[in-house]
């Protein structure tokens, strides 16, 4: 279990009060983190992976089974499209 810093932006911020304020959470990997965040903001789990993408310490991370480093920054951003 790692303590990580959550940085919600854009549509992600809406789930946590809308201000984009950062906060801490504890989870071993992104699957666990999504569960933790969904408990805090019901509906977040459905949006994660569909509408939102995670960048762990600046790297976009699609493998949700990878262990989260202690004190990692988890930036949550809206997925955007290419042409």
């Amino acid at each position: 279990m790692s303590r990580v810093r959550i940085v919600p932006t854009g549509a992600a911020a809406e789930y946590f009060g809308g201000s984009g304020e950062e906060f801490d959470a504890e989870a071993g990997n992104l699957f666990q983190l999504v569960e933790v965040l969904d408990a805090r903001a019901p509906g977040f789990g459905d949006a994660a992976g569909v509408q939102l993408v995670f960048a762990v310490n600046g790297e976009v991370t699609e493998d949700w089974t990878a262990p989260l480093p202690e004190r990692a920054e988890v930036l949550i951003v809206t997925k955007i499209s290419g042409g």
């Binding site: 854009g10 509408q51 600046g58 955007i80 499209s81 290419g82």
Partner: protein
């Protein structure tokens, strides 16, 4: 062109072999979606709203149904009621209710051209006649097209339940502003206060359309047992499957989507407009149904790129170091909430090292078609403002515009928008190449001006599946789920041939339907050569491993004693005297050594790198008419490594030409009643060959270390800089700064006259 140009260390990568799909396309044999015919097929047609905003009181289809030859009619009543649900659409997400409403208006029409009913008949003439017999009772509502007007508190509301996301406290009233976003760094007011020079201005551009030559079209056949086939023009057969299934509430496995050849997409063919409608018509009629948009329908009813209004203020030190940027962006996203300004936020400033910035952005809905992706979606608009202002700043400071950019350009190790460090990017190399290019120092003629601009695009990765198999004679079949929109058959063949060390002509590539291969994300985002390419390389490497094992069995040696090179297994066991088994001999015996040789690879890579481009333009402005001629144009781009050099250059040229069109001519024009006034190529003027000089290209190659051959995405960044490049050139030629696009003759002429 087409002359081999092998690079050191590679057999095929970087060469220019003949494209495998070329002959079919130039001889008219290739089957595009409007060409496809199914046995017993009916012809469909869609009735569209003449009003930009109206409530549908009722639709009476009885007279149309009575017309001989009419086999089915569909309205919103035939669509299932959906719950609000965000679904993945390519790389981004969208609400399935909005997808459904783009196919058929439900309750209200939201733009001129919104579909209200559809007919399937035994001929196109009967279908068109039937549309005239459908009676729609509209309650016409006030409409809004302009961004500022749509943001007013008393503006006509498109969606009565839409409140702005991203604002605290959450608004208690609905508005036409679905999204507010912001991002700040440092104290921008303080930084601008220290600046030796400040440039400030409002920039705008209208909605523009992708202008693909082939219209949206499909044939759908939905059987009584629930199974269906769709043949269509798309950048992603899997997204058509998912969206159609979701809109209709059926299982994805019941739909088999076959992507036909595509006559242009540029992002606009990563969604559905017709397929669910054709499916419903097919189910009702019991026959396959074709729907194909006319050119007018394409303009009125498919997703364009957003128009914008941008306020920008930027300041720098006397020696040209950027101090601060204050950016307010309003994106006109059309009738439905879309990812407009979110991308603006990511792509506006991150190619420079700003000490501080403040970015604020709003998406605004209006009574125009809902936006959809268009090549580097939403990046060119904001880049136009930023790179125009950078140019003005350089002029004001008396610094060469490329030199100013070099002073501030991001380099490997600088932070990107996610906070992570940028990898092996080639922005500085592009700027240096531009500075050294003969174009940049060539003399200019009378009434001519030179402009330069730079940009980046984030690029993308994501899931892809590829299969590689051997035919009995040792030739190789590659199958992917990525529609070929820009030469991916050739690039996949090159990468497979390079990996297997065999001739390019021995590899043939097929684009599979959704039931023949596993999921691949859309061809878009500049991801396919990178991500699907990785899958092809991985599958080819597995084929090599299998062939080495088969050869070891044939020789009776340990597999560790077998190497692969020159398309042959090489025996390293000294007792075997360095024997070799060519791929053809291994393939001929594959059923005696374990059976067919095939491999599939499934990947989801995200170690892509952004692409950077720098463009130079010389324009000539006629002071008597305001007419602009592009005299010379050079596009420089970091391509990572070019797999098929012709296609890379073609992507760069195509992107540049589309961007020049945005800059000079293209605009959605609406009349006072809110109807699109120019839904055709005569009045919506895209550049043609005779309008432009040859677009010169320079490929800077700084390979992506995370890709076996160094690939970076190529197709999108070239549309980003042309807007500002041309605007900067025209401003120099005309002697007056013009901040609104397009730079049509009347606008340029007025600007020249207004300066006195």
């Amino acid at each position: 062109m087409n002359a081999p140009e092998a690079k050191s260390g590679f057999r095929h990568v970087g060469t220019r072999p003949v494209r495998p799909d070329g002959i079919d396309k130039v001889t008219g044999k290739a089957i595009y979606s409007p060409d496809f015919v199914a046995p017993g097929m009916l012809q469909g047609a869609i009735l569209r709203s003449p009003h930009p905003h109206a409530r549908i009181r009722s639709i009476d289809t009885s007279k149309a149904e009575a017309l001989p030859g009419v086999k089915a009619i569909v309205t919103a009543d035939d669509f299932p009621t959906l719950k609000s649900l965000m679904v993945t659409m390519g790389e981004s997400a969208g609400n399935i209710i909005h997808v459904s409403r783009k196919c058929m208006a439900q309750g209200k029409v939201l733009y001129d051209g919104h579909a209200v009913a559809a007919v399937a008949a035994t001929s196109a003439v009967i279908a068109a006649e039937a549309l005239k017999l459908i009676e729609v009772d509209y309650e016409v509502l006030p409409h809004v097209i302009d961004i500022d007007e749509a943001m007013q508190p008393d503006a006509p509301l498109l969606h009565e339940d839409m409140v702005t996301e991203g604002v605290q406290p959450r608004p208690d009233k609905p508005s036409n502003i679905p999204t507010y976003v912001s991002k700040t760094k440092g104290d921008v007011a303080e930084a601008l206060g220290r600046a030796a020079a400040v440039v400030e201005g409002r920039y705008s551009m209208p909605m523009v359309h992708q202008g693909y030559i082939e219209p949206h079209a499909c044939v759908a056949s939905w059987n009584a047992d629930g199974q269906a086939n769709i043949w269509c023009s798309t950048q992603g057969a899997f997204v058509v499957r998912m969206l159609t299934a979701s809109v209709l509430g059926i299982s994805q496995a019941d739909i088999r989507v076959t992507p036909l050849e595509i006559g242009g997409g540029f992002g606009g063919k990563t969604t559905v407009y017709l397929e669910p409608v054709a499916m419903l018509l097919s189910r009702k009629s019991g026959r396959p149904v074709r729907l194909a948009m006319t050119r007018e329908e394409v303009f009125r009813a498919s997703g364009p790129a957003p128009g914008v209004q941008i306020d920008f203020k930027i300041g720098a030190t006397a020696d040209g170091y950027l101090l601060g940027a204050d950016l307010s962006m309003k994106y006109n996203v059309g009738a439905f909430p879309g990812n407009g300004v979110q991308v603006g936020l990511i792509t506006a400033l991150y190619h420079y090292r700003f000490e501080s910035f403040a970015m604020h952005g709003w998406n605004v809905v209006t009574n125009m078609p809902g936006i959809h992706a268009y090549r580097a979606p939403c990046a060119p608009q904001v880049n136009f403002a930023v790179e125009s202002a950078i140019d003005e700043l350089a002029y004001k400071l008396g610094i060469d515009p490329i030199e100013l950019r070099l002073k501030n350009a991001v380099v490997p190790g600088d932070p990107g928008f996610t906070g992570g460090t940028l990898g092996e990017i080639g922005f500085v190399e592009c700027l240096e190449a531009a500075k050294a290019h003969p174009h940049y120092s060539a003399p200019l003629g009378p009434n001519q001006g030179r402009g330069v601009a730079a940009s980046y695009w984030i690029n993308a990765g994501g899931p892809s599946v590829a299969a590689v198999s051997l035919a009995e004679d040792g030739s190789v079949l590659v199958t992917t789920g990525s529609p070929d929109i820009g030469g991916s058959r050739a690039s996949m063949a090159i990468m497979a041939a390079e990996t297997l060390c065999i001739p390019y002509e021995k590899v043939r590539v097929t684009i599979a339907d959704t039931s023949a291969i596993g999921f691949s994300m859309v061809t878009g985002g500049s991801r396919t050569t990178y991500a699907t390419g990785k899958a092809v390389i991985e599958a080819a490497e597995t084929i090599i491993s299998i062939m080495k094992a088969r050869a070891a069995g044939m020789w009776g040696v340990d597999v560790a004693d077998v190497a692969w090179g020159d398309g042959e297994a090489i025996c390293l066991d000294p007792a075997k005297d360095n024997q070799r088994l060519p791929i053809g001999k291994i393939a001929a015996r594959m059923n005696n050594t374990g059976g067919p040789i095939s491999a599939e690879a499934s990947v989801n890579p995200h170690d892509y790198l952004p692409a950077f481009g720098v463009h130079i333009c010389d324009s000539e402005v006629d002071p008597e008419t305001g007419q602009t001629t592009i005299v010379r144009y050079t596009a420089i781009q970091d391509v990572g490594r070019a797999i098929h050099a012709d296609y890379c250059e073609g992507q760069i040229q195509g992107g540049a030409v589309q961007g020049i069109g945005w800059a000079l001519n293209e605009a959605f024009i609406h009349d006072k009643a809110g109807r699109l006034d120019n839904p055709g190529f005569l009045d919506y003027r895209v550049p043609v060959c005779s309008d432009l000089p040859m677009i010169d290209t320079v490929m800077v190659e700084k390979p992506n270390p995370a890709h076996p051959f160094g690939v970076k995405g190529v197709g999108e960044v070239p549309i980003v800089p042309p807007l500002a490049t041309v605007a900067n050139a025209v401003s120099r030629a005309a002697g007056v700064r013009i901040r609104d696009l397009p730079l049509s003759p009347d606008r340029v002429y007025s600007a020249i006259k207004s300066k006195g």
